[in-house]
Symmetry: C2
Subunit: 426 residues, 2 copies
């Protein structure tokens, strides 16, 4: 095919991919055990963030989260046992993305963890993410102390049970429900100073207020209802995980379009940054992940930082997060920079995207739609890589979050993907 | 005193007034019956928004709200009886502001209505406001049908009881509480796209999420808890009333400073717009209220609009509302204009204010403090009147809200106040 014809074909495929991405309508329908609801998840399998990786190449926080999950599942009784088991190769490690999942930071999901279930009611695909643990020492940042595990047991037990009952309860008496509309929630949150990735303050309380009457109605114990409501409401990241699953459902809807150069996954495992492209099947294009620039918590510095980690870049893939930063000027207090930088970040992302989101708008840009649908061609042609807002993990297992900041994927993964695209379609 | 000396004295007095206003820390401590908690409120007395007015000069929405309150109290059994009673002069009408209260729109508060109780823990003064009824046909816009009264009975009964128990419950088990910090809540809401007067979406869900665990903990009936949580969470104005009481507590703390030209109350009764000034005692300076410019709900136009009404201008008086509009670009969809106009509105208000709020900041203006403390002298010298965001009521009793928009007080009230100031201190 000549260059002009291919260009037209790619443009058409990209329009279709982006339209599918923005018209996907992800509804949060329930909470269920990962092992029961995620198709294909093995009994002795652990999912992790980013492209494929084994224990030997795994970074500190991912190793810590694997150790924690092995202890949580009871597959190991001590840290040492867990390390040996992980090293032995007996436990299968697989990317969340291979199972319709998206996990923040280390992103480890094991069979007895509870997951949010998202249904894209437009196209019929499903996606999943685990429950957010809040701040401090948490598994997703590689911490695995007994308090971390105790909290996870409560979350995956009592809290998950209450969330499941609340979500399946269907709202006010007699009202039927197809779930909570996560795209509508996000649209509202973007008008309330969130960007939906690193700033989810508004989204998390919108989420809490939607669940609150349902939880109050279904709870068998008042103290347990109060505990869950306080945990959801006080955690400014409560909505991050179901929103990541929503973004995964949106991005998956755009995947598999023949001849499309739209990026449908960006993900990091703490060692490598990987992308997938709509028209390039299941292949990952990877390169070493960079270390974020940002603000560090007291007592930590860039020297302590792990390279970029987590599936949360699915938010940028779906047209929000750093791409919607103009909606969230207050975020610069957390990730560094000035409010004007937040505007610049979004404006730059219009350069490398194929569309503007009809359902997600930014008030300060005169309600312009967010930039959506990263076009591999534009990234390489213009030399502009996607922007990412992210948390920063300590490089050692067992410590946790030490800051938050900004990062970009390595350019070479877009270049290798474009070479692969040209080989296949050129 | 010569002009220069007076200028210095006024500057000093204004610094003190503004410092008291911004350092006031209004805590929401409980909910109680107006007749039991508002000092001096008579048994057969009704409070209303704005400066003093009698039935003869009252506008349609204020008359409607008075009729509704008389029916609610059982002092009249029919609309006709209520009108006769109001006309007879037997019922004492008095401004909310004379009783430490602030009431939105018609602002009618009667003895058996529940009120939020705000304690300014810095200076010890208290303020009150009734519970917000939500949208649609509501008493504060002059509607008084049986549904309006039935909802008020539920709010002042079951809902108020649950709010009181929740607020007095003191948070998590064993935790003592001095109440909910309304200034901290507002500061957070201004970083989430609210301006605190006409846009309270974020504040209302922050309010709901703070109350949710407490309500779940104290509720005797799960269905009632669910109903209250849904009512609070779905009403984007839930927090307006306690926030107005918080603003009243702030403004009152600045009142009564000898030789201060800071405006400590702006209020409208639907006929007149009135202000009070810190150094001018209890006197009101009034003139006919203007009609807001704005956006009308389907089927209504400016011809249907009542002149400006309500005590909610206490928010602008205390340095938020229209003064913080730069924080709320999305509000222009509701009150008219473009996002850039929201920035302009705030920038203009710095011209006529004596300070910048140390606790209320605006992300998009590089976290600059909101303009606070309207200086009478600057208003008159520069010919710039304060900006106000407001709801628009239908001019007839019994109908309700028909739009929202922007308005300014008449310049002549500032001119007459300045003349009075010069006579007293010049």
């Amino acid at each position: 095919m000549n260059e002009q014809d291919l260009g037209t074909r790619v443009d058409q495929a990209n329009r279709t991919a982006v339209e599918r991405m923005v018209e996907a309508r992800p509804m949060l329908t329930t909470v269920a055990m990962a092992g029961e609801v995620i198709p294909g998840l093995g009994e002795r399998q652990l999912l992790h963030a980013g492209p494929p990786i084994d224990w030997q190449r795994a970074s500190g926080p991912l190793r810590g989260a694997i150790i924690g999950a092995l202890l949580l599942e009871g597959w190991a009784q001590t840290q040492e046992e867990a390390r040996s088991l992980a090293q032995s190769g007996e436990i299968d490690l697989a990317p969340c993305h291979h199972f319709g999942c998206a996990g923040p930071m280390a992103g480890v999901i094991s069979p007895s963890m509870a997951v949010y279930v998202i249904e894209n009611v437009t196209h019929g695909n499903r996606a999943f993410s685990n429950l957010n643990e809040g701040y401090g020492k948490v598994l997703r940042y590689g911490a695995y102390s007994s308090e971390v595990l105790a909290k996870l047991r409560w979350m995956n037990g009592a809290m998950a049970g209450l969330l499941k009952a609340a979500l399946e309860e269907g709202g006010a008496a007699g009202e039927s429900s197809e779930g909570l509309d996560m795209r509508a929630l996000l649209a509202e949150a973007l008008h309330m100073g969130d960007e939906g990735h690193n700033r989810n303050k508004a989204g998390s309380i919108l989420f809490t207020k939607l669940l609150a009457p349902r939880i109050a109605r279904v709870a068998q114990e008042r103290e347990e209802a109060a505990r869950v409501l306080a945990f959801l409401g006080d955690n400014a990241l409560s909505v991050l995980n179901p929103m990541m699953a929503a973004a995964k459902a949106m991005a998956d809807a755009a995947h598999g379009q023949e001849a499309s150069t739209i990026v449908t996954a960006m993900a990091r495992n703490g060692t490598d940054f990987g992308i997938r492209v709509s028209g390039l099947g299941e292949e990952w294009f990877t390169a070493p992940a960079a270390t974020p620039d940002g603000l560090y918590f007291s007592g930590f510095s860039a020297a302590d930082a792990n390279p970029d980690i987590g599936d949360s870049t699915i938010t940028e893939t779906a047209g929000f997060g750093a791409f919607a930063m103009a909606a969230a000027p207050a975020i610069v207090q957390f990730v560094s920079g000035k409010p004007a930088d937040a505007i610049t970040a979004t404006l730059e992302m219009y350069e490398i995207t194929a569309g503007e989101h009809p359902h997600l708008t930014i008030p300060s840009l005169d309600f312009r739609g967010t930039p959506v649908g990263i076009d591999l061609r534009k990234v390489v042609e213009l030399g502009i890589t996607p922007r990412v807002n992210t948390g920063i993990a300590h490089r050692e297992a067992g410590i946790g979050q030490i800051g938050a900041g900004l990062v970009r994927p390595p350019m070479e993964i877009f270049e290798s993907a474009l070479i692969a695209f040209d080989q296949r379609y050129g």
